[in-house]
Subunit: 228 residues, 2 copies
DNA sequence: GCAAAAGTGTTGGCACTACACCCATGA
DNA sequence: TCATGGGTGTAGTGCCAACACTTTTGC
């Protein structure tokens, strides 16, 4: 526990799994590596943690630098430390998990990433390093957490029809959900506020709702359990 | 993402929160620091991750070295990386979460820890570094995970009466649980096997049960959800 | 026979599931 | 008027919570 006993240090990076959702389904942000190793391969955005920089900050910074992205939701996922995971030498990576509303963000490539874009989650190209297993774990977290935390809203625009929210749950869970039961349940939680806006387009217009964050925090403090 | 851009590296450690349970309640293993900083202060067992060593290995090794402990259950908890958390310089710590059956393990002090023992979780002394917040997070994990994973058994002897299991849940959740409902629920899961052994001591002898790990894995693969 | 802890059943309410038809709009 | 998606109610079932007395043992 003291510098007197110091051993060679593993290097430390962060990597981010950014999820978005659209008509094509669940999507993951990847960047194309401009440098070796794995030059030209798609990979998760990420990079070295700087001395004196917090992990959260490093994750947010890399997302900003590599894709011009400032996600509303960002949480630590898991730390991957197998010695062989990076061919350059022992590199421990703290993985992060982020949710964005895809339409809000026009992704841009930057710095050492020569390209950046979203891929449909079940059609990902072959990834660099152990990033495929990081994505797999992130998806598990998303699936699990969606059931007991209101994080799905971070993937949607501010105001949305209930059908969009339902499709989100259907996509992530990979199963159909009954329209009436879903509506009954979500409205009974008293976390959505009606707006006067409606969708346009084919079919009957749908009412739009907003998620009431303030109300959720209030309820949470009183020991309320979200669950869908 | 390449060594050409290398910055100064934060140091990397692991720290372990080891829980046990006994008549006094939930307990946490602490060691007394033999070296500065925080010399003489109680702290979580832990130490530097070695180059080429996996994180899981480092956690298990430190527990063995510092307390002679080989916990049956060990999982990664969270990674703490605030730059100021260690006065010696930026040190990122990957925290682990372990469960032991206290009676199986006679804890011994070793190496740079001059002393090691279990403390009742809500009467901990002042801890070194940010270890108090690591313990707090570990307790949340324990409370949460106990509800949907059969990990409580790791805290108990191999064969135990249902009352002991119930007390465990009561202790961790901090609330009373109805005896009949608990028995009905846990037995209906069909994960416990009766033994012919009984408790002795004051009061009517209680039948002892064992947790059937094989059966749990079988059910889990078929999409079974444990929940209590 | 008394103290201590184990063991045992029933009932009411609530939440979830399953299920099918009509409505409003744009083309 | 047709195609598209939105919006609505009910009945059955299973799970959970609440609740009090009898049994077995050691002293």
């Amino acid at each position: 526990m003291a510098f007197e006993y110091e051993y060679a240090r593993p290097a430390l990076t962060v990597d981010c799994v950014v999820f978005g959702i659209d008509e094509r389904g669940l999507e993951v942000l990847l960047i194309r590596r401009g440098l070796s190793p794995y030059k030209g391969r798609w990979a998760l955005p990420g990079g070295y943690v700087r001395e004196g920089e917090s992990l959260d900050h490093a994750a947010a910074r890399e997302l900003e630098e590599e894709a011009g992205l400032q996600p509303r939701y960002l949480e630590q996922l898991y730390t991957f430390g197998e010695p062989k995971r990076d061919p350059r030498g022992h590199t421990v990576s703290v993985a992060y998990f982020a949710l964005v509303n895809i339409r809000d963000h026009s992704v841009r490539a930057a710095t050492d990433a020569s390209d950046a874009r979203f891929f449909v989650e079940d059609e990902l190209p072959k990834l660099a390093f152990d990033h495929a297993s990081i994505v797999a774990r992130a998806k598990e977290r998303l699936q699990g957490k969606l059931r007991y935390r209101p994080i799905g809203f971070e993937l949607l625009p501010d105001a949305f029809p209930l059908s969009q929210l339902r499709h989100l749950y259907e996509t992530v869970r990979g199963e159909e959900i009954d329209k009436r039961n879903f509506r009954k349940k979500i409205l009974s939680l008293d976390l959505l506020v009606e707006t006067d806006e409606r969708t346009t387009g084919p079919g009957r217009p749908a009412r739009l709702y907003r998620f009431d964050r303030g109300r959720y925090q209030e309820l949470e403090e009183r020991g309320f359990d979200f669950s869908l």
